[in-house]
Symmetry: C2
Subunit: 282 residues, 2 copies
Amino acid sequence: MFNAVTIVGVGLIGGSFSLALKNLGLTKKVIGVSRTKSSADKALGLGLIDEAMSLEDAVRNSDLIYVAIPVDTTIPVMKQIMDLVTDKQIVVDAGSTKSVLCASLKDHPMRHRFVATHPMWGTEYSGPEAAVQDAFTGRTCVICEKEKSDPVIVDIIENVYRQLGMRLSYMDADSHDMHAAYVSHISHITSFALANTVLEKEKEEDAIFELAGGGFESTVRLAKSNPAMWVPIFMQNKEHVLDVLNEHISQLRKFKSCLEKENFEYLQELIEQANKIRRIIK
Amino acid sequence: MFNAVTIVGVGLIGGSFSLALKNLGLTKKVIGVSRTKSSADKALGLGLIDEAMSLEDAVRNSDLIYVAIPVDTTIPVMKQIMDLVTDKQIVVDAGSTKSVLCASLKDHPMRHRFVATHPMWGTEYSGPEAAVQDAFTGRTCVICEKEKSDPVIVDIIENVYRQLGMRLSYMDADSHDMHAAYVSHISHITSFALANTVLEKEKEEDAIFELAGGGFESTVRLAKSNPAMWVPIFMQNKEHVLDVLNEHISQLRKFKSCLEKENFEYLQELIEQANKIRRIIK
């Protein structure tokens, strides 16, 4: 059990992590670090944190510092944190990209006190109000560059995630970013683009959304996601996201070509191929 | 109240329609017409229909004939039905495209006994087992070319759909097909293409799906949809689907260009624009 855990960024992920720690009795106290007072107040009001502090005070008073902020601000904030921590403390991040962060910390003298993680869960909402109980249960948490962290702290963090009900998966930072581009980042881009496609048409046709059913809702749900979170993810993971996006556009072009050429057989084949996703999602 | 309603195609839509009619006590009997004996047996076993008959017998014994089969087979089957019906019967279809069907029936001497409808609801599943209670509640039903149907039968069918909890919307067949391309057909194409994008990668990377979270599931859910239903929809609605698909590919290219040029500001703008979908979906 931790005496005090600091959550840097008490939003969707940080807030949900805090709820889980409290629920499992894994810490005596949760300290919150927020960029704005209103966000800290909300987190206090919702019971996500017990106390709000400045980053420096929070770090000095914690056993575990858990960073869950947009991946661009993670870089400078993590540097500040790592410059403060001692060999008795553990630093963990929960960001959706891993290569840029891991590279930025590669030569830091305290690198061994840091564990790079990505609990693969999220919703289209953000902020303290978006935090939910049992968010991570049944999901996978990726741990990157495990060999660069002290084995004893890796054990502790693995144990925390396991108690949260997560499966663990290990890979290097670049493999993580490639996988994340395929199973998460591209879904967000297609949703954003689909929303823009239809909103564009809505300018002419004001009744269009009256007809939108469940299928439309499910494919554009992610288009409600926060740009403050997603712009930095796409930018940091630019190369992999571009690879997947190019592949996705070329898959869409196959559908286009089938329609243009009235190639029923190939269209049937493309859909049957896509149906194989049934193996994967229930 | 109807004495007997025939459902041609007791699958997702026909089966759900039958459940709703029975639940509301709107018919004494439901007769099912299925292409295969196994499907008819399933529908009987699930209580979706009271009796299975050949198309000809079923039509002769019904007040209302409700057609819910793939849009390509709808054309010849509807011709058979319309050649059999009298001025005491009503024929309704529930297909996802309207132009081709309406054009094919335009000069039929019994056109006035037909109401062209599209209850805008569906899931990625098909067959009698996919039928659900309360499927249509809260959704919109489009009625096309209302002026070509006898007013008295339009009243009856509007009343049925209203009792099912549906809002009614009126448009010509081509407007319907354009709207359907935007709020339904394109979502299916993006889902199929996204599934194929990721399944392609999975050949090299067998661990990829271990990481797939809720966002991925929601955007590829529709990729499980049945090609027997969707190939004919895309083909019949080719022109509108191509328009939307071209617009969607051009929206995706904007994201691509932002990444290639590292244009953060424009990427932020594109996402903020997409966020406006919040107005539409809860």
